[in-house]
């Protein structure tokens, strides 16, 4: 598990795979865009508006994936006090917040033609909104201390608190929305989706994931370089 946990080894490893990740990201996102905008058919109910799904659903998936990365890295950092895990958690958070924002805005843009309103307090959108707040809280907390190690430690604890709370919040929001909106107007995604839409969606989701991995590697490398620069300044 810690084969790449040594910073020097991480630098070598990430340098080796970074070009491949970047290349694959570019290819997949390009292919995904073509598939989503030209190849995939319009929905018989939603028409062309269904194309919003190809950014909305991958963004939602990445928003959760990035939070999972933050949480796992935080746990590793708290248990083994590994500096690389701290960096991974802190650098995954802004990316996750970005995807969450994409998910919220595209959801709102999808909601207007489908529901006739820009914002619906539906369970899924509300949960994503709460996730966005959790990201903001995490990022704000990490940067709120003069001593960066304190920020990292506090952030790690908060990330784990968030992981415990997310299912509870999700459950309570689902519960609340069934009370207030008994008839489900419309399901985003879901298993009823046609195969002709599934392929473009899968390509997009993979492209988004690799985009996240690539940027995470770049940002982590950047942080390690910054540490090296500070160390050199301290000696010099």
């Amino acid at each position: 598990m810690f084969r790449f946990a040594n910073p020097a080894r991480f630098m070598r490893f990430s340098a080796a795979i970074l070009p491949w990740c970047a290349g694959a990201t570019a290819l997949l996102l390009a292919a995904g865009l073509v598939l989503a905008l030209f190849v995939s058919p319009p929905d018989y109910q939603q028409g062309e508006a269904v194309r919003i799904m190809y950014v909305h659903v991958p963004a939602a998936y990445l928003a959760s994936l990035a939070y999972a990365v933050v949480a796992v890295a935080s746990a590793v950092s708290l248990i083994w006090r590994h500096p690389l895990a701290d960096i991974a958690a802190q650098e995954a958070a802004p990316l996750g917040a970005g995807f969450t924002l994409i998910c919220l805005i595209s959801g709102s843009l999808w909601g207007e033609p489908m529901w006739g309103t820009w914002w619906v307090w539906d369970a899924r959108l509300t949960s994503v909104l709460v996730l966005f707040f959790l990201y903001l809280g995490y990022i704000a907390l990490v940067h709120a201390f003069d001593d960066p190690t304190r920020g990292a430690r506090a952030g790690a604890i908060l990330a784990l608190v968030g992981v415990v709370n997310l299912p509870i919040i999700k459950f309570s929001v689902d519960w609340w929305s069934t009370l207030h909106q008994p008839e489900s107007i419309f399901r985003l995604g879901g298993p009823t989706i046609a195969a002709a839409m599934l392929w473009p969606l899968a390509v997009m989701a993979l492209g988004f994931t690799l985009f996240f991995v690539t940027l995470l590697l770049v940002r982590m490398r950047s942080r390690l370089l910054a540490a090296k620069i500070r160390a050199l300044r301290l000696v010099g």
Binding site: L141, R153, L158, W176, L179
Partner: protein, 221 residues
């Protein structure tokens, strides 16, 4: 007397001597609720519709108000360092301090809540669920708040940050607390909601002190 009770007694004594804190929270509660008729109009129908939600949301904010002080004074005067080094496990101490916080904020809020609900014309059948719900829900607020207060010790803009961290985590308590009242009013049993509030409390009692204690340890490190 156990160390747990000693700590509760000390925090209560400090709250009483410092005075004001609990009174301020109540005043804030009262004032904010009293603003709503100015905002939405004094029509009883409108107020009745939003009564439960207004009382709960305002109670949430009022409980938040005194949270920042929960560990801050101890952190600043060195008491926290000494407390961390006491033989009594820090998790138990957090529980004691959260209990003291609840006794000085959550409990008074619960007692005053029906009075404020009266001002907002809450449907008569909703009072029982409101009071029971607040009695079950406000301890959870104090416990979750303790985690936030511990995490933001020594942070810049600690107070605002604390709200940002804690308010999203308060959503489940708010949902089930208001849900209980509304269920009662429409003649459905409030029990599932109240049981869920109990479940939240039972989950928070062991989990929140662990997280808060971890945060306090790294704060004095």
């Amino acid at each position: 007397m156990s160390g747990f009770l000693r700590l509760v007694r000390r925090d209560l004594r400090l709250a009483l001597r410092q005075g004001g804190d609990a009174a301020m929270v109540l005043a804030f509660f009262l004032l904010t609720v009293a603003l709503f008729p100015f905002g939405v109009g004094p029509e009883p129908e409108v107020l009745r519709r939003i009564a439960a939600g207004t009382v709960w949301v305002t109670a949430l904010l009022a409980a938040l108000l005194s949270l920042e002080r929960l560990f801050l004074a101890d952190y600043e005067d060195g008491s926290l360092e000494a407390l961390v080094l006491m033989p009594l496990p820090l998790e138990i101490q957090v529980l004691a301090k959260a209990l003291a916080h609840w006794l000085t904020t959550g409990l008074p809020l619960t007692v005053v809540a029906p009075l404020l609900a009266l001002l907002l014309h809450l449907d008569r059948s909703g009072y029982g669920a409101l009071v029971i719900g607040m009695a079950l829900g406000t301890p959870t607020l104090s416990l979750i708040g303790a985690v936030g207060a511990a995490l933001t010790l020594g942070a810049r803009r600690g107070g605002v940050l604390l709200s940002l961290l804690v308010l999203p985590l308060y959503i489940p308590v708010l949902i089930f607390g208001v849900g209980a009242v509304e269920a009662q009013i429409i003649g459905v049993s409030a029990r599932p909601h109240l049981l869920l509030l109990v479940a939240l409390l039972l989950a928070a009692i062991p989990l929140a002190p662990v997280a808060a204690a971890a945060a306090l340890r790294q704060a004095v490190e």
